[in-house]
């Protein structure tokens, strides 16, 4: 937002690009869970564009992003975050868009030293070079700490009116926002990708391990964001919704999964994957019963529907809290 505004204040025409990889914390994840106390849902990219008065183009890169995540040239960060490859990929996509729409250069809101992998003095040039953007990539918030880029050398942009921010502190950005009259802004950079999240990365690794294949579809990675995921046996996975919003969302997956719908008490919908017989179904049901209002009852009833559409009633005794083993949780 700041970088775009700084360019606008120099009289340049700016348009926004927002790439949707499927791993974005924004938007859809806010839409799933029930929470009456949360601030109104908004897509921050759209909101920022509206505040700035610029067009925003949201680009679906779900399929193309697979090669970035599955085969990162520069490896992963602390979790499954391929930040350097990701940044290179996105700047490369921005370059494609720039060329297709007759723009002159690309800006990002990056700050030197802000992030440990993709925003370092030694990795900034890697992104510029490997994306193909080279010196048409300008980072207005830290440009004064970098060699002049083409827009600066050509005088399209006044370098003196750019900034030299560095480090992990957000204080200079917050001060600049205040100076520009920007009082409300989206969350600071970082923390907007599930791949930086340890728990999510663990679930994604489990998905690959259980399938003996490093691949995914959009539905797979969306499901990893929803519900409690438990693996009580190597071949058996149980996904239990955490609230009514997640139950509603998981209902959309009923045709793809065996599922358990609690009928005797209020309780979450549960998806079951990999069950090999009645013992596995009963195990899944006893887990599911633990998370409904009948957790203290002697018996909880479910409508069980197999992936093939076969329905039957099922009664089980809920597990006690100690019987749901900690290492079942993914």
């Amino acid at each position: 937002m700041l970088a775009a505004r700084v360019m606008q204040d120099q009289g340049l025409h700016v348009e926004g690009l927002n790439f949707f990889t499927g791993f974005c914390v924004e938007g859809h994840t806010h839409a799933i869970r029930s929470n009456p106390n949360r601030k109104p849902r908004r897509n921050n990219a759209l909101w920022v564009a509206e505040q700035l008065g610029i067009p925003l183009h949201i680009v679906d890169v779900i399929e193309e992003y697979k090669s970035v995540l599955l085969r990162p040239h520069h490896g992963y960060g602390a979790n499954l975050n391929p930040c350097l490859d990701c940044k290179t990929f996105m700047v490369g996509k921005a370059l494609e868009w720039m060329q297709a729409h007759d723009f002159d250069f690309i800006i990002t809101g990056e700050v030197l030293g802000q992030r440990p992998m993709s925003q370092r003095r030694d990795t900034f040039p890697v992104v510029a070079r490997e994306s193909g953007a080279n010196d048409r990539l300008l980072r207005p918030l830290c440009a004064q700490l970098q060699p002049p880029t083409l827009p600066e050398r050509e005088g399209w942009v006044d370098r003196e009116q750019l900034y030299g921010f560095s480090g992990r502190t957000r204080k200079p950005q917050i001060a600049l926002a205040r100076q520009l009259g920007i009082e409300d802004y989206a969350q600071p950079a970082g923390g907007c990708c599930f791949l930086t999240d340890a728990a999510y990365s663990r679930k994604l690794r489990d998905l690959w391990q259980s399938r003996a294949e490093r691949d995914y579809e959009l539905d797979d990675i969306m499901l990893l964001k929803v519900g409690r995921h438990l693996r009580p046996k190597p071949h058996l996975k149980v996904i239990v919704a955490r609230d009514a919003g997640e139950t509603r969302y998981l209902r959309g997956y009923r045709k793809r999964f065996t599922y358990l719908d609690m009928t005797s008490h209020n309780g979450p919908l549960t998806l079951v994957e990999g069950e090999r017989g009645d013992a596995d179904v009963e195990l899944a049901a006893r887990i599911a019963a633990r998370f409904g209002q009948g957790r203290e009852a002697k018996s909880v009833s479910f409508q069980f529907v197999s992936r093939g559409g076969i329905e039957r009633e099922l009664q089980v005794a809920p597990f006690t809290v100690d019987e749901v083993l900690g290492d079942w949780y993914l």
Partner: protein, 75 residues
């Protein structure tokens, strides 16, 4: 001028916006697009996208099962 339907049910934000954006790119000035969604977030996001790009929001309707957003394309 013609009326078109877009099924964005089962998709979560921002996919309904992306599908709307891509569909509108194929339409002509004055065409009407009815977008069917199940993500209530679309009630905020698609109108915001319309405001940014200058398209006219004709109506929004929300029922238990579905959100319906009608827009007129302005180019």
């Amino acid at each position: 001028m013609s009326t078109h339907q877009l099924d964005a049910t089962g998709l979560l934000c921002p996919l309904p916006v992306i599908r709307t954006q891509d569909r509108v790119a194929t339409l002509r000035q004055g065409d009407v697009l009815s977008v069917h969604c199940t993500d209530p977030g679309a009630l905020l996001d698609i109108p915001a996208w319309c405001r940014i790009h200058g398209h006219e929001l004709l109506s929004t309707q929300e029922s238990e099962e579905e959100v319906l957003i009608c827009i007129r394309v302005r180019k």
